[in-house]
Amino acid sequence: MTTVAYYKGCLASLSAKELDTSTQALAPKVGLDLIELESVTCCGAGDIHEAEPDYYLHLNARILAYAEATGSDTLMTVCNVCTLNLRQANFQLQNDEALLARINDNLATVGVPRYSGGVEVKHLLWLIAEGEGYERLKEAAHKGLKGLRVAPFYGCQILRPSKLLGFEDPDRPWSLEAIIEACGGEPVDYPAKIKCCGFPIIQAREETALGELIQPLEQAVEAGADAMVTPCPLCHLSLDAWQSKLKKATGRDFKMPILHLSQLIGVAAGLTDSELKFKRHVVSVGPVLEKLAT
């Protein structure tokens, strides 16, 4: 077992609870022992980075400090946006001694443990796409996916900027495909799998965002996908919940089931309904479950 500090972030704590329950249920099956961080806050989601960047650095330093205090050298995330925000702050802190010293002084002032820079932030996807996690995954996915055609949707902030993320080639990612195959599914390919779902501006610029959102859905349907899978709860929210807005705006009803990464593997690993919580999805996952039941 690998022990990691687990940062679930805002959505898995609130509107995407199904991401948290399926992740917690899946973890032991893929060799991960999760220490959930209790005293942490939002990473700022790029918004605090933009509104008050110095506060953003402090919030993320505090999350990293509490992760380090668990004794683990790995902070596991389940969201693209958390991954980029934490890795970006970590990089800045690790590469600027004066900055780390000033922020540590501030953390000490308010009673937060110091951060030495010894934590690496990794998304769940990266922990199970290769190495021991991948081997365990293949064993865990014993129920398989019966050739389910799954469209991987990476989203942006797990691929770009690659100098801060760097797990895989941002133009030719392979990790989701590897996992879909390991679970017995069939990955389908389409160009928009690495593009934006529009979520960051879905409230402030809905029309622009919908113009982005329609591309992966349209292409996944054309490629014959039964479902889409994403490692990001924000991509999940726009792909799942905003499909109805696309229907209203364009007349097209995609009816495309959207699965969190932990749910897709969870189905193949035989997680229970109460762990997968598909009832919380806006677009029904029923057709996927029916296809697997036949």
């Binding site: 005293s39 918004d47 933009e50 509104a51 800045q92 009673g111 900027p161």
Partner: protein
Amino acid sequence: MEARDDDEMATAGAQLLMAAGNGSSGPTMDVALKIWRFDSETGERELKQYEVEAPEWSCLLDVLDIVKDRVDGTLSYRKSCRMMICGSCGMRMDGAAVLACKERMKPIVDAGHVPVISAMGNLPILKDLVVDMGPFWDKFKAMKPWLQPGFDEPADGKEYRVSQERMNVIHKEALCINCGCCVSECNSMESDPEFLGPQALAKGMRFVGDARDGATVERLEEYNSEHGIWDCTRCYFCNERCPKGVDPRDAIAKLGAESIKHGIDRDMGAKHAKWFVKSAETTGWLRETELVPKTQGIVSSIKEMKFAMGLARKGKVPPPFPPHVADRVEESRKLRELTKTQGRDGALGIVQGERGLARIEHTDRGGARRDVPETDPTEPPVLRDLS
């Protein structure tokens, strides 16, 4: 050329010119590539394959020159300096914007890959690989890309001095060569062609962040327009593609930070960003349910009620009361109070620790990027072995 033969430092001019001729200087390789030919006058469009012999050191631009010289003189593309500074030769290779003079072809040839070359995206194609840069320059000009007077004269009557710390804020933005690679890939601009876009906004930050410019507030007001900074969808394609390490998305974040610092926060994007700050210091976690009214205002939120009710039925609208409060959230509140007193707000806050980033800015992965729909479908869809 002969006169320079004795000079150790001289460029081997004769060799350079000869190399593309008959392969007499050094090893060569056989390069195959496909080029999307296009003529806007006739509307004709064709993917044509070319195979030429080229020196092993060739970049994409060298290969295009050989194709034009020996195979098809009608091939059109832009070029000038050949050294990554004029910004003329932006185009796409395997769907990703590149400078043709920066891309070495040997790793691609060694991998047995036949790259697809096409014109940049988000701009109208005139012929083959030449795009109409008109819309690009219109947005560039709209930024008023020159220093505007209005700053205070130095009290001692000497030259105006700017601290290194201040100049660091615009270090990356000043590297822009106006090639358009970022614009080509911008996901927001695909959806909203009027978006000012990454190049223009990075240029805007270059002046907003310049201590000698006297029009900061006026500029920020303009860049906060409907198609301005809050139209950016944070896809980070601009940072990924920029051949010079400008990181336009970071420039846009700096403009957002400067806007909020100057109290220019009427846009929904700014209100959205500020609500995250409020959430972090009060409950620690995002107060999701209140985000919509705080961003869009009460009237717009009411129009969204039907949509919201649909989400609420699925548990996607967590009740705001009692609030989900993080353990030890007072630490978060106190940290905000501390940061407010330490003078690191605005763009200055974003460039902290960036000198570390600068060291890995100009990484060149080399090789082809990825297959795109216009590529021969018989080719392997994923090229994992090229890194």
